[in-house]
Symmetry: C2
Subunit: 228 residues, 2 copies
DNA sequence: ACCTGAACACCGTTCAAGT
DNA sequence: ACCTGAACACCGTTCAAGT
């Protein structure tokens, strides 16, 4: 939605708000208070305005979030991508993750389909192009992109939920229930790992997993490179 | 939370509600009206009761959802798992997906950490055990489990969001914006695929992706099998 | 054109009171 | 022990009205 601020002469009263001001305030709210505090009412209050005034600049809350992602992706430094297609696929996938890692709350919104924000389309283009150069067919390349996207989205969703719950300080009760159920005769592997579970699962394994997934996806292509 | 229905003599007034009745009603609501209509108030109304009466049987809404997952996982037929470790890892991962595919709305809740509902712990046990039998070390096996879990969670999250938006009938506006941005000179691969994008991405590629991921994860183990 | 106020139709949860 | 009613502190969004 483009704001109704059309420059058709000098009629009407001058705007006090702007999309830019709204997005800046929203980003500050997000950074300082967390996504759970970003509501239209709270945001309006931050701008000394009313919730409804915001609807002159964004169609609804979803669009507000998408605009925030767009802004974020635009500001994000676009890394130089390696020439080697496998390395390029890895680097582009990593960029996808890194851009979203700073606003994982957005995943819920843009998870509605498989295309990204306009400002991040260069990533998708590069992922698919690199996959094709690795020897995948066009359809296979799209499917490879989607597998990586699902992995990324899952990792980010789980990450944001973890911090959300950890902010609540207390361990979720169902975790304790699960650990209590870990009898060595029924669940020998889990029981033997239980003591180190938190330690093991705290490690950031995103990159490792990404490499494994990419190699698994590319192994179907017979390792051919350079072919379009 | 166990309900306060302690059988300590026959004092007090007889309960009209029960956790069972609440869960059954909640499941029906979920099936018939969708997860977005499951609220404590709506559920109470369904039971001709008040929202607060429910809080005698569940600690909060999160626990209600977890109990629903537990019930669902219990009822889910436990498939016979193949002996071959790679096949077993695949089958258990598939079971993880299939159980959750029927209630993907739960992913948000249990995504808070990496352990599952108690009734689905056999899946995690088998995934980790099979990974170890494939030649991974215990820590590597846990990490492999987590990679698969992220992929599964992402796939399910995106799926539920897709149907949620498709229920709203109209295509999300940012999709059209993204497609409009697909100029052939800037995004040659995407532009050439744009016409078939929906067709390509509609395909259910969960299984294929899973196989690729598992193979990618296991390729690090040198193909050793049978070792603990 | 830009913004406000009141209202609609909701949430989850707490708390004191009733039977 | 079990349940209710009122209240608290919120949501996103619509609509008619004001300047």
């Amino acid at each position: 939605m483009t704001p109704q601020t059309r420059r058709t002469g000098r009629t009407g009263r001058p705007p006090r708000l702007s999309q830019e001001a709204i997005l800046t305030a929203a980003q500050r709210l997000l950074d300082e208070e967390g996504p759970e505090h970003l509501s239209m009412r709270r945001l309006a209050q931050e701008l000394s305005s009313t919730a409804m005034a915001l609807y002159h600049y964004v169609r609804d809350k979803d669009e507000l979030l998408l605009l925030l992602l767009e802004r974020h992706a635009q500001r994000f430094p676009r890394p130089a991508l390696p020439a080697d297609p496998r390395e390029r696929l890895l680097a582009a996938s990593q960029a996808l993750h890194d851009i979203l890692a700073e606003c994982p709350w957005i995943v819920e919104v843009l998870a509605s389909d498989d295309l990204m924000a306009v400002s991040a389309l260069w990533i998708v283009e590069n992922m698919i192009d690199a996959a094709i150069q690795c020897g995948l067919g066009p359809d296979e390349a799209v499917y490879a992109y989607r597998v990586i996207w699902y992995y990324t989205a899952g990792e980010l969703t789980i990450r944001v939920n973890r911090v959300r719950h950890h902010a609540g300080l207390e361990r979720p009760p169902h975790r304790d229930k699960a650990f209590a159920a870990l009898t060595p005769d029924e669940f020998p592997r889990l029981a033997s790992l239980a003591g180190r579970w938190d330690e093991i699962t705290t490690r950031d394994t995103h990159r490792e997993g990404l490499v494994a997934i990419v190699d698994g996806l590319l192994s179907r292509a017979g390792g051919a490179r350079g072919a379009t």
